[in-house]
Each structure stands twice: as structure tokens, then as C-alpha cells.
Subunit: 237 residues, 2 copies
């Protein structure tokens, strides 16, 4: 069943964006009484649609049960990569349950944003995580922060991990086994070519643990999927 | 350093394909005495190139140490998907250490190949896994089998897993924990919409265990990356 997110609820009616209304009426060609699922304020509702031909209304039929994913709150901290890789990471990270995404400037990033924001890029990213959230039946959409510098990552709480190409002894398994009860994980992924030694040391001083992902050599966009899969697995019951 | 695969060795010289020679001379514009790594018969050699301007020669300087990945032999069994998804799976599965890929016909596959082979598709797939093997510094290239029907999967040995959308109790973690010493894993991924009940039962009868991947809803191309990441993690030391 089609799923949408809503930001507004009036009595037993949920309000959708113009894009979603267009999708329902013109792309999906739905009819009165067709059912959809709409998520509002982290609750999923089974709804039926009314008045398609004039002013579409979304009427709540019942509240749906919440799925418990068991995973901690995950913040993914990534350099800005080329469009295709970035899109893939955002989509897959959303499917795999990331809560927040912090894009960062790093020395070896190919793409850097100075003003902290590039409106078009952010619009594109937000659309990708929204659509991936709908497709993977999430009840929330990952929050994408304004771009930060490494120095600004000092206020994060919880377990802090760097996916390091430099670290040879401590691996992700050692770290996960020691932190099986953590409720918040922050993951730093480096750019192609890795973080510089200076950047990694700076992060280490802020409490980030340099971690090896084993002996496989992965493309940068594979790394978040690898680590997020592992976290889902480790918290599976 | 650039890496290539060779199929032929004469004394201390390795022979490369015309495509690779073109890549070295024209794309990379290498010069005499430049170094490359060439893998021949699952051994990586540091080589230097000679005689670039006339008939390129690849001379072995020394044999490189073998990396031990600890993971079992993994056979990925997948329906044929649309080009972009298929390409992504082949690339990522190679990075994550798959040994063999068996494309299968399933009832809900959108794309089906009747004659067991589509030469152009196979050429494309072989190129993708070769390039991914070079990039991830593998010493072997995953073998892509001719397309099979489900009934033909009865001769596989080792642990046999179905990534099932139907199974609710046994999850991948239960299965992995019970099979920590297996040296061969066969993974069946279903098409969009999943395997039919009949197909799954047929596989169950051949010893395939239906397995849940937890409560997240993933796109079909995410599933192999998820499971392969988990296997790498489980066999990490």
C-alpha cells in the first residue's frame, strides 16, 4: 500500500503536500475509498481517500501498530561525495535505519560547500531520504543537518566511531561487543583517500574511536551500508 | 597502485588483455619502469612495465603477501533484476567477497532469460565483477554461472539460506550463530515481491533455510549487501 508523510492533522483528517496529492490523483490515479498509509508525528495511520475529483481528503480509519527496530539512534557523519554516491548512501542509510546525517567538510573531500548550505543539494537530499523512508515504511525521516567542520562535532553524545583506513588492531567487532547496550552511535566515514592523520587525531581527542572494518577494501559508498548492516545485526534479537 | 588480472605467464613476464594494455598506455599514460600490481592464478605480483612504446612487457619484480579474509566461500543466488540494480549488486557483492554468483529465473522476476545466456548481459556482468575485483584488491574474480532454474540448485553444498520475507521466527542471527564454522554459504535472494510460497517450499525441501533479516523493509538490491556485510562481520576476528 502507498505510504506518505503528513505534517498536519485536523480532527480525523491528515493533510498532504501538493506533490503527494499529485502523486495520489495523477500518478497513482486513485479513486474515492482507496486506502493509503499516512505517517503523522511518528504514528502510521491506515487512511482512506475521499473527494478525489475536487479537494482530496485523507480520512483516518485506524492507527497502525508500531514496529520496534531495537537499533540505537544512529548519526551518520559523511563528507560530501559526488552526486551518485551521495544519493546511494542517503537512500541506503535511510533503509538501514539512520536517524541523522551530518555532512562534513574534510581536507580530501572533492566537493566542499562553503556556506554550510546549498539549497538545491539539500532539497534533493531531503527528497531522497523522504522517499526512502516511505519505501522502507519508516515512521520518521532522517534529519539532514547543515554542513559542519570536524571541529564542530564535539557536542555529540554516545558511542563515537571512525571507520578508519589507518587503524589495524581495534576492529568494529571489538567495539560493538564492548558497547552492546549503547543507545546512540555516531559514525564518521572518511572521503576517498581517507581522513588525514590530523583530522583523525582531532576526532580521537573528541572521543571518536578509530576502528578497522577488516581486511576488505571497499569503495567509500559501501562503508556506511556495511557498518549500518552490522549495527542492525548486532542489535537483532 | 593500478591492478590488473592476467591469465598467462611466460617465465617472469605476465600477459595482459588488449583492453588492459590500452588502459596502461593510453588511459594511464604510464612510462617504462612504472609499477603496477598484476594478479595471476590468485597470486598478486608487483611488476614493472617495459617497452611501452613498442610491445609492452610486464615484468614480475616480486610476489606480494596474501591477505586472509577469513570469510567462507559465498555463493549468491539472485534473480535477474533491472540493469542498474543488477550492476550495483554485482559490484558490491564483489567488494564484499562473494565467490560465485548464480542468476536464477523466478516466477516474479521481471526479467527472465530463456536460453540460459544473453551474451551481452554476461559480458557486461563479467566486466563489472572484474573491475570491482581490481578495485577491491581481490586475487580472484567471482564466477558468474549461466542462468539456472530453482530446481537446478539441488547440488549445492554447505549452509543454505533464503533471505525470506515470509519467515518471522528464525532470523539470520540465529542461523549464523549456529553455523560459525561453516566454510561454504549459499544465499538465495528473492525478486521484488519475493519468492512464491511454492518456490520457497521447493528450496526448503532442498535444504535451504528460510531466514528473516529483521524488521526493516529493504529494497531488493540492499539485501545482498546487508547479508554479505553480516557474514564478513561474523567471521571477523
Amino acid at each position: 500500500m502507498q505510504r506518505y508523510f503528513s505534517n498536519k492533522k485536523i480532527d480525523d483528517k491528515l493533510i498532504l503536500s501538493d506533490d503527494d496529492i499529485y502523486h495520489i490523483t495523477t500518478v497513482m490515479r486513485m479513486k474515492d475509498n482507496d486506502e493509503i498509509i499516512v505517517v503523522y508525528d511518528k504514528i502510521a495511520y491506515l487512511c482512506c481517500i475521499e473527494n478525489v475529483k475536487e479537494k482530496l481528503k485523507i480520512k483516518i480509519k485506524k492507527q497502525l501498530e508500531k514496529v520496534d527496530y531495537k537499533t540505537p539512534n544512529i548519526t551518520l557523519i559523511i563528507p560530501i561525495l559526488k552526486e551518485q554516491k551521495m544519493d546511494l548512501i542517503l537512500q541506503k542509510a535511510t533503509e538501514l535505519g539512520v536517524s541523522e546525517i551530518i555532512p562534513i567538510n574534510t581536507n580530501r573531500s572533492i566537493i566542499r560547500l562553503k556556506d554550510g548550505k546549498d539549497i538545491k543539494k539539500y532539497e534533493r537530499w531531503r527528497r531522497i531520504v523522504k522517499e526512502a523512508s516511505e519505501q522502507s515504511h519508516r515512521i520518521d525521516i532522517p534529519n539532514i543537518y547543515d554542513i559542519k567542520n570536524i571541529e564542530e562535532l564535539d557536542k555529540l553524545n554516545g558511542l563515537k566511531i571512525i571507520c578508519s583506513t589507518r587503524e589495524k588492531t581495534k576492529n568494529i567487532k571489538n567495539i560493538m561487543k564492548k558497547n552492546q547496550k549503547c543507545d546512540r552511535i555516531n559514525l564518521v566515514i572518511g572521503p576517498e583517500g581517507g581522513l588525514t592523520e590530523e583530522e583523525e587525531e582531532h576526532l580521537n581527542k573528541m572521543g571518536f574511536i578509530s576502528t578497522s572494518l577488516g581486511s576488505r577494501i571497499m569503495r567509500v559508498e559501501t562503508v556506511p551500508m556495511f557498518v549500518l548492516s552490522i549495527i542492525n545485526y548486532e542489535f537483532m534479537e
